[in-house]
Amino acid sequence: MISFIRFADNLSAWFGKAFAWLILLMSIGTGYEVFVRYVLNNPTAWALDVSFIMYGTLFMMGGAYTLSRGGHVRGDFLYRLFQPRTQGMIDLVLYIIFFFPGVTALILAGWKYAARSWSYGEVSVNSPAGVPIYQFKAVIVAAGILLFIQGIAQVCRCLIAIRSNYWLEAEEDVFETEDLMMREANKAEKGHLT
């Protein structure tokens, strides 16, 4: 079970991080559009389409990575007071009845939606450049599959939490500045006491 959790965490992180680099491409691409428009007076026809394709792909492919690192916002002012065991039981039930139906729909209904678009080689209506968007619709399916796998890992986490009253957290790779600062403050405090 633990090795599956590690596998899912790594898989989600790998895809999430790989697609995260689109932000750099997006900055450069959009910056290029501004440059050619003002300096060369020759705007591109594709900048708008390309920027929303990159934005959409980025956040969809990052969904599972964010889930694995507990990054999706929760209304947790009561929840955080509970024991991990109780939290695990609540989460377990809700993963099964709240999470999986929607994520499964992303895969199956998303497949239908993307396949149709793929069959007529759909392009964006926003621009005469005819930027393809069928591959972009297929991102829905890919994101759904990643979330599904990560969801199973989360269910395993819940089982561990119920059994041992302890959350098996993902290996953290990056921290928000505030978390980092708070962690360091905690460490310093503990060091001071001992």
């Binding site: 991080k17 995260a20 680099w21 932000i23 997006m26 900055s27 450069i28 691409g29 959009t30 910056g31 559009e33 501004v34 003002y38 920027s51 929303f52 959409g56 980025l58 956040f59 969809m60 990052g62 969904g63 990575y65 964010t66 690192r69 990054g71 999706h72 916002v73 929760r74 209304g75 002012f77 009561l78 929840y79 955080r80 509970f82 939290q87 609540i90 989460d91 809700l94 709240f98 999470f99 139906p101 929607g102 729909a105 992303l106 209904a109 998303g110 939606y113 972009f136 619709k137 829905i140 790779d173 990056v174 928000e176 500045t177 505030e178 978390d179 600062m181 708070m182 403050a185 405090e189």
Partner: protein, 472 residues
């Protein structure tokens, strides 16, 4: 039960389920799909192929066709359709870019230079260190827009300095919490982009409209800080020469030129190019991100490690915000399909409220929602419910948006989910108690409410700039 009643039940259940603490994006998705399954339930359509099976069909075929029918509900297609609508939302494309800019600027070592400089520059003003802390917060928050980062970085930098200068700890904490929260209000703020995406109000008009109210709030904060320092000098003693060194004018100017000016220029370039129509918010955000990287290079703060951190944090925060949209678009499509908007609108109209009463009621509800929830949930989920009512009471959604943006300053400061206070508590010396932080924040909450009253009495503060830039 009628459909609109079911819609109300959907909303009620959602509010209950939020408190179970499951990720809200998936709670919304589940509510939308669950109630949508009911809304789109059509036995004739779903089991069509089952009804048309040949009589010779075997039991396995019958059974599997019947099961297929169960999953043949149109809500699943609606969900996918709404997901794609979020994916292709042009306004939201600016979100990851502004986040990226924020994470980069946050890592560019600019905040300590800025605070040191302003501290020396404001030396002769009453409450000088508080003033310097607030202005640093405001500028830094404007450039990064990330509340947690501003509060913790300033909490590590300015709080010890103020405590050392024997400031009232509660007062000092209040300044940092309130100042750090300004980034969600003063443009280019991500909260305003999210409001624009949730309500279809023009983002550039919102930016223009938020500028003066943001400065008004900073002004009120400054009046409070200076006023209190004058009336109660013991709470903000003048720093001694070794706490804040004297500095020859030439050297001070050089410090300003290397710390204050580059950041101010970056903000001006981003905001100016939007307001003067040189670039869309998305384009301006990409310029801001590239500018931030450039700045970080100049300050020798740009490392491979920091770049990676910024990139990964950007994807996580973007996913958090945008998946919330995926959930809420599905939720609200089903809510409106069932006629929920209509019944809420009828109910509110039956109360015979005057527009001002409605406005106060709406802001009060948002204020109360801000106790347990954060701005993203409130704007993405609850504001769209008020939206159809604005037309009934003839309230401009632009004006309403600015009031909401001011109001949501308080969501970071009011318990039980007072994130600014928690961030500060997390890094402050242990002697600083949470109750002291809340006490220090209280006067700033009054400033927020005062600023909202000012907007109502002088709506020109909101409308002046949009009219100048874009006409009535």
């Amino acid at each position: 039960m009628t459909d609109p009643q079911i819609a109300l039940m959907m909303l009620g259940l959602f509010i209950v389920f939020v408190f179970l603490g499951f990720p809200i994006a998936f709670t919304l998705m589940a509510m939308g799909i669950g109630f949508g399954y009911y809304a789109y339930f059509d036995a004739r359509r779903m089991w069509r192929s089952f009804d048309r099976l040949e009589e010779t069909a075997g039991p396995w075929e019958q059974w599997s066709t019947w099961i297929d029918g169960f999953f043949n509900n149109r809500i699943f297609d609606l969900f996918v359709n709404q997901t794609f609508t979020v994916m292709s939302n042009e306004v939201l494309t600016a979100v990851p870019l502004f986040l990226f800019m924020g994470y980069i600027v946050e890592r560019s070592n600019i905040v300590d230079r800025l605070f040191t400089t302003l501290n020396i520059a404001s030396k002769n003003i009453p409450g000088s260190m508080g003033v310097a802390a607030l202005i640093t917060c405001a500028l830094f928050a404007t450039a990064t827009g990330i509340v947690g980062a501003v509060v913790t970085l300033m909490g590590l930098l300015a709080l010890p300095a103020m405590l050392k200068a024997r400031y009232d700890p509660s007062f000092a904490a209040g300044i940092i919490c309130a100042g750090g929260t300004l980034g969600i209000l003063i443009p280019p703020s991500i909260m305003l982009i999210v409001y624009a995406a949730a309500t279809n109000v023009s983002i550039v008009r919102l930016y223009a409209a938020a500028l003066l109210p943001g400065l008004t709030l900073v002004g009120l904060y400054l009046i409070y800080i200076i006023g209190r320092s004058l009336l109660q000098p013991s709470s903000a003693p003048r720093p001694t020469a070794d706490e804040v060194p004297d500095m020859p004018m030439g050297k001070l100017l050089l410090m300003i030129a290397t710390s204050f000016l580059p950041l101010a220029f970056l903000i001006f370039a981003v905001l100016g190019s939007i307001l003067f129509g040189l670039a869309t918010p998305t384009e301006a955000a990409s310029i801001g991100a590239l500018g931030g990287i450039f700045l970080a290079f100049i300050y020798r703060a740009m490392t491979w490690q920091r770049m990676r951190e910024s990139v990964y944090l950007t994807v996580r925060t973007t996913a958090m915000v945008c998946w919330l949209f995926v959930g809420s678009y599905t939720f609200s499509a089903v809510f409106s399909y069932l006629g929920g908007e209509h019944v809420i609108s009828e109910f509110v109209q039956s109360l015979n409220l005057s527009p001002i009463m409605f406005l106060i009621l709406a802001q009060l509800i948002i204020f109360l929602l801000g106790w347990p929830l954060e701005w993203s949930e409130i704007i993405i989920i609850f504001v769209p419910i008020f939206l159809p009512l604005l037309a009934v009471f003839e309230i401009d959604p632009l004006f309403f948006g600015i009031l909401v943006a001011l109001n949501l300053q308080t969501s970071f400061l009011t318990p039980p989910m007072a994130m600014s206070a928690y961030y500060l508590k997390g890094i402050a010396p242990p002697e600083l108690r949470l109750t002291q932080i809340f006490a220090g924040v209280m006067p700033f909450l009054f400033c927020v409410i005062l600023s909202m009253v000012l907007m109502y009495v002088f709506p020109q503060i909101v409308f002046y700039l949009p009219e100048v830039f874009y006409g009535g």
